[in-house]
């Protein structure tokens, strides 16, 4: 029984990482109808940047926070590059294929750059917690996983509160629902879109700092994470807000349970099967809204 609870908790932690990255996809998709298909590689760059500050051993909390901040800052810079170099020029061609390919290309460049700098080795990454486990009622829980769940939930809730309560947050919602009407309110729409990319990429980069200590840091760590998070976005619904949490948990749990009770070889299967089913039967996602228009 306790093994099962540990398994479930690992699934939840993994699911929250997926949800966090997916949340980033949703933010830019809502404001710009585009998203960054190299988000996983940005996560990897965030992890490496933090690794050079935090190191591979248990670190003091301020050092760890500094690493997290550095990753977020890198994410913000990458967001500006992404938008100005890849997405905005590609959108001028008027084809959706252009921006998709442009963001994928940027991801390949990011991965190659990381291999030039850090090589193709795999590195362990430190966190404020060491190798020990917490024993809670006979169940051993990895504190690094607790950190993942708390941090991911914290970031998502903080952004939702900002979006609902602050004036600029309401402007973000306005841009998401109607760009022309938003600009007629005096909202600088390109600035809001830039802001959404900065938040999205900073979230992905911080995601790397959270998952690094649980998995391993390498130049290829982002690819599968980014793809699975995209599946979570679609499962939850690209315009669903917090629907990604449900999507992430479904995927994280199904992976862990499949790995344990069926075979580790099939661990990635349920997520992608689910993605295909959702695309076939509920293309707006489980929690996506169909928009109502009154004429």
């Amino acid at each position: 029984m306790s093994a099962f609870i540990q398994l479930v908790f690992s699934g939840v932690a993994l699911g929250m990482i997926y949800a966090l990255i997916a949340f980033g996809y949703n933010i830019t998709f809502s404001t710009s109808r585009t998203l960054n298909f190299s988000q996983g590689d940005f996560l990897m760059l965030g992890a490496f940047t933090a690794l050079s500050i935090i190191g591979s051993k248990q670190s003091a909390i301020p050092i760890w926070l500094l690493g997290l901040l550095a990753a977020a800052a890198l994410g913000a810079v990458l967001a500006v590059v992404l938008l100005e170099v890849a997405i905005r020029p590609a959108l001028k061609t008027g084809s959706d294929v252009s921006w998709i390919l442009a963001t994928l290309a940027l991801g390949i460049i990011a991965k190659n750059a990381a291999e030039r700098i850090w090589g193709t080795d795999e590195y362990p990454m430190g966190s404020p917690f060491g190798r020990g486990y917490w024993n809670i009622g006979g169940v051993s829980i990895d504190p690094k996983e607790v950190l993942v769940v708390a941090a991911a939930a914290g970031v998502m809730i903080a952004f939702e509160v900002f979006r609902r309560k602050s004036l600029f947050g309401k402007a973000v919602t306005a841009v998401a629902s109607d760009k022309d009407a938003a600009s007629l309110m005096g909202i600088n729409v390109p600035v809001v879109i830039m802001f959404s990319f900065i938040v999205s990429c900073a979230i992905a980069a911080m995601g790397g700092v959270l998952i690094g200590p649980i998995q391993i840091v390498s130049s290829t760590m982002g690819a599968l994470l980014g793809t699975k998070a995209y599946a979570v976005s679609v499962i939850g619904g690209l315009n669903s807000g917090l629907g990604v949490i449900a999507g992430g948990l479904i995927l994280g749990l199904s992976e862990q349970l499949t790995a344990r009770y069926i075979s580790t070889g099939y661990k990635d299967t349920p997520g992608f099967v689910l993605l295909i089913l959702i695309l076939l039967f509920r293309p707006n996602g489980l929690f996506g809204k169909a928009t109502i228009k009154k004429v």
Binding site: L167, S183, L184, G186, I292
Partner: protein, 240 residues
């Protein structure tokens, strides 16, 4: 106040406005009437910067607006209540109004903004009843009131109104035009674009008739109401 000179707008090779000139003096309600596709919405979208003209000028006081970005034109004092209302469906009535004051909120602060909102509620009591509701759940007429109220929240120098009657039941249209008459009495400068020529001319001071992207007739609202050409085209009466 708002002075438009020789405005030309094209959608690709298709010319939509062929040199439109008109004036909206301060404190007046000026209407532009014309049928579907005459260029009315194009005219308003060009004034507020959503479309770029190929030539011509739009002046607000001394300031040239052509070439400015839409959000800066709003900031300059032009509020545009767009065709089809375009309220933000996922935001509450109150939040829609708050965003209407987006350009001013930093200068005026919360207290002054809420005073402005009370004024809007006084004008449209229905909105006050529904202040916490999401705008997407309002009826068409209520959304129209919200769209007008939202535009007024910026305390504009000129209010552009694009077919406020569109898609509304006749009894609601009466209500909307009653409110426009009230706004006119308060001295708000307005440029109203309407297909319902007769209703528009009833509340307006001055009118222009636009056809195929050109101003064909202009005059005081009263003279247009009695113009046989206008009657023939829009009031369903045979020309004398």
């Amino acid at each position: 106040m708002l002075k438009i000179k020789d405005l030309q707008v094209s959608y690709g090779p298709v010319r939509a406005l062929h040199g439109v000139s008109l004036e909206v003096p301060a404190g007046k309600l000026v209407c532009v009437i014309g049928s579907n596709g005459a260029g009315k919405t194009t005219l308003l979208r060009t004034i507020s910067g959503l479309l770029k003209p190929t030539s011509g000028s739009v002046r607000l006081g001394e300031r040239e607006l052509v070439g400015e970005k839409p959000h800066l034109i709003t900031r300059a004092g032009v509020a545009h209540c767009p065709e089809g209302r375009r309220v933000f469906p996922d935001l509450s009535v109150t939040d829609n109004l708050v965003l209407g004051a987006f350009t001013r909120l930093k200068q005026i602060g919360q207290v002054e903004m809420h005073k402005g909102m009370e004024n809007i509620f006084a004008l449209f009591p229905r909105l006050q009843e529904r202040r916490e509701q999401l705008a997407g759940t309002l009826s068409g007429g209520e959304q129209q009131m919200l769209a007008v109220g939202r535009a007024l929240m910026s305390r504009p120098e000129v209010l552009l109104l694009d077919e406020p009657s569109m898609g509304l039941a006749p009894i609601i249209i009466d209500e909307v035009f009653k409110r426009l008459a009230e706004l006119r009495a308060r001295g708000i400068t307005m440029l109203l674009v309407e297909q319902l020529a007769f209703r528009a001319l009833e509340v307006a001071d001055y009118g222009y008739v636009i056809e195929h992207g050109k101003i064909e007739i202009e005059g005081t609202a009263e003279s247009l109401r009695n113009d046989p050409r206008v009657k023939a085209a829009y009031l369903g009466q045979a020309a004398a």
